[in-house]
């Protein structure tokens, strides 16, 4: 696979503060990579480095095979789309006029403006002033702006902050469509639910260091987090099966009981539960990104960065 972005031991310091430390990362063409981490973990710094807004203190960074702050910056930026966190626009202009200005600056085809506005669901509001837009509409205008000129690489910094669940889903559907068209997407987030179904790999950052990198399956096996099994039934009548190889068990209410089980014991527990009379339903919940994230932030932030599993 081709790497579109390569971080080779990149460190970024602002005075004494290290906002990114010795990052090694290769972003493949056509993948959706999520940068996850708390505020100050280095997500925005990584994006600014890719955009060439700041220069690495150490190490080498290449985007489309060129240094992003070098002489080829302008050709490079034509192939990039960026949606900043807390995007702001010219309040006195209409949504359409804003896009027109940015399209001219990017030397993009201005015929696509109306299609883009339709695509992000702003067709109706395109002639209204940005001043009258809601937070979600501004965010969608920001996305339309990032999509100007059919970029091959999209950088989305906290794209769903302030969006309601329906708008978030719409947003990620758009991201998925773009990915299917071969666009590489890098998105940062601290809102984990919602991101999970749409990403190929996740990079977990903490304190400027890489805590983990991989697909969700890889991260799950790396963390070896317990699975959650929920069994529903009449627990008042039936006694709990004894000596289940579960780490932890708790009753959620009269009917539902929750077990935390190691991955290797999963089948054993399932078989026992399936043969227990009175159980009506068994639900299997793999560890979510949120669990993984908590796990990696907690255990690895004090130790060295994890090795790349790939």
């Amino acid at each position: 696979m081709n790497d579109i972005i390569t971080f080779d031991g990149v460190t970024k310091r602002h005075g004494d503060v290290v906002s990114l430390q010795d990052l090694h990362l290769g972003v493949h063409q056509g993948e959706v990579l999520a940068l996850l981490g708390h505020n100050g973990a280095g997500k925005t710094t990584a994006m600014k480095l890719i955009l060439g807004l700041i220069v690495p203190s150490e190490g080498e960074l290449r985007v489309f095979g060129a240094t992003p702050h070098g002489s080829e910056a302008n050709q490079l930026r034509q192939r990039l789309g960026f949606l900043p966190e807390n995007v702001g626009f010219y309040e006195q202009l209409s949504g359409r006029e804003v896009l027109d200005y940015f399209a001219r600056l990017k030397r993009a085809d201005r015929h696509q403006i109306d299609d883009l506005l339709e695509q992000v669901g702003l067709g109706e509001a395109s002639k209204r002033r940005v001043k009258t837009y809601s937070k979600g509409m501004r965010q969608r205008l920001g996305l339309a702006q990032a999509l100007l000129g059919e970029p091959q690489l999209l950088l989305l910094d906290e794209p769903t902050t302030g969006l309601d669940p329906a708008a978030t889903r719409d947003f990620y559907t758009t991201v998925k469509t773009l990915r299917d068209q071969g666009c590489t997407v890098l998105l940062s987030s601290h809102v984990l639910p919602g991101v999970e179904p749409y990403i190929d790999r996740a990079l977990i950052l903490g304190g400027g260091r890489r805590l983990a990198l991989g697909s969700l399956d890889e991260l799950r096996s790396q963390a070896a987090l317990p699975l959650t099994i929920r069994a529903k039934g009449d627990w008042a009548v039936n006694a709990l099966p004894a000596d289940l190889p579960a780490q932890q068990m708790q009753r959620l209410n009269g009917n539902v009981c929750e077990f935390h089980v190691r991955p290797k014991n999963k089948m054993q527990v399932l078989r026992r539960l399936a043969t227990t009379p009175g159980i009506e339903d068994i639900e299997l919940l793999p560890p979510s990104l949120e669990h993984l994230y908590t796990h990696f932030s907690a255990t690895l932030s004090t130790t060295l960065p994890a090795r790349d599993p790939s």
Binding site: L53, F82, P84, N86, V87, Q92
Partner: protein
């Protein structure tokens, strides 16, 4: 280059949309006509008096207004975009930072240029129509000189405003600094010069050259030195014979006053972190 023009075009359109152009032109035209008409009120008369009086009054008005307008127009050029969150976005677009700043300068410069030409032009026409016996050629020359030098003076202060705007990180601070710059160049400098003049009783031949250190004084000299009668009013007759005080040279000095702050602003902006 095209990015520069795109930015300039947007700034100018904003100027039309926010009624900046209209407001500046109206204020200048109204005050100029007012001064020309009521200029003789102090001596008991109404109506247009001599061209010399009018030009002296008009240039005094412009010295106060033009720098203030230019600073107000441009102080938030960069810091305002930063606060709105658009600067970060603009800097990720395929254009250099210099192209962005120069585009803004072109746009703001055009706003001021168009508005000043309109304002003083209207005033000139009003004087030509209203004054009983004014020499049209002399009037046109004086008003033309006033317009050109006012535009140059305005550009000087736009350049100052940019220097402020790329230096600070808060809009409020930029506004404060802009007012200080106005205060220093329009009021304090001349007072200080006066104090020096009083202090240096003899051997102060070099003192007039200090006037060149202030763009507003250069502007005043351009307009006053151009008119014989005005020299009598302002006591600049002796100065006007020196070559450094000829309008042509003074315009060049004003040009320098545009280029130096603008160059510094470009340098500073290129190394500014976002």
């Amino acid at each position: 280059m095209s990015a520069t023009f795109t930015v300039a075009r947007k700034e100018f359109q904003d100027g039309l949309r926010n009624r900046w152009v209209l407001a500046i032109a109206l204020v200048l035209a109204l005050m100029a006509v007012g001064i020309a008409y009521f200029g003789a009120a102090a001596s008991g008369g109404l109506g247009f008096t001599s061209l010399a009086t009018t030009v002296v009054s008009l240039s005094t008005l412009a010295v106060f207004l033009i720098p203030l307008i230019a600073l107000l127009l441009a102080y938030d050029a960069i810091v305002g975009e930063q606060e709105a969150g658009t600067l970060l976005l603009l800097l990720t677009y395929p254009m250099s930072r210099s192209a962005l700043l120069l585009g803004k300068f072109l746009g703001h410069g055009l706003i001021l240029g168009v508005a000043t030409t309109l304002g003083f032009g209207i005033a000139g026409i009003a004087i030509a129509l209203g004054a009983p016996d004014v020499e049209l050629l002399a009037l046109a020359r004086s008003i033309g000189l006033l317009i050109v030098s006012s535009v140059l003076l305005g550009w000087v202060f736009i350049a100052f405003a940019y220097l402020i705007s790329v230096w600070v990180v808060e809009k409020a601070r930029a506004a404060g600094l802009a007012l200080i710059v106005w205060f220093v160049f329009v009021l304090v400098f001349d007072l200080a010069l006066l104090a020096l003049l009083v202090g240096a009783q003899n051997g102060g031949d070099w003192l007039p050259y200090l006037l060149l250190l202030n763009p507003t004084d250069c502007f005043r000299l351009i307009n006053l030195a151009g008119i014989e009668a005005a020299q009598a009013y302002s006591g600049l007759t002796a100065l006007a014979r020196e070559s450094a005080f000829q309008p042509g040279w003074l315009m060049l000095i004003l040009l320098g006053w545009i280029l130096v702050p603008l160059g510094l602003a470009l340098l500073r902006f290129r190394h500014r972190s976002v």
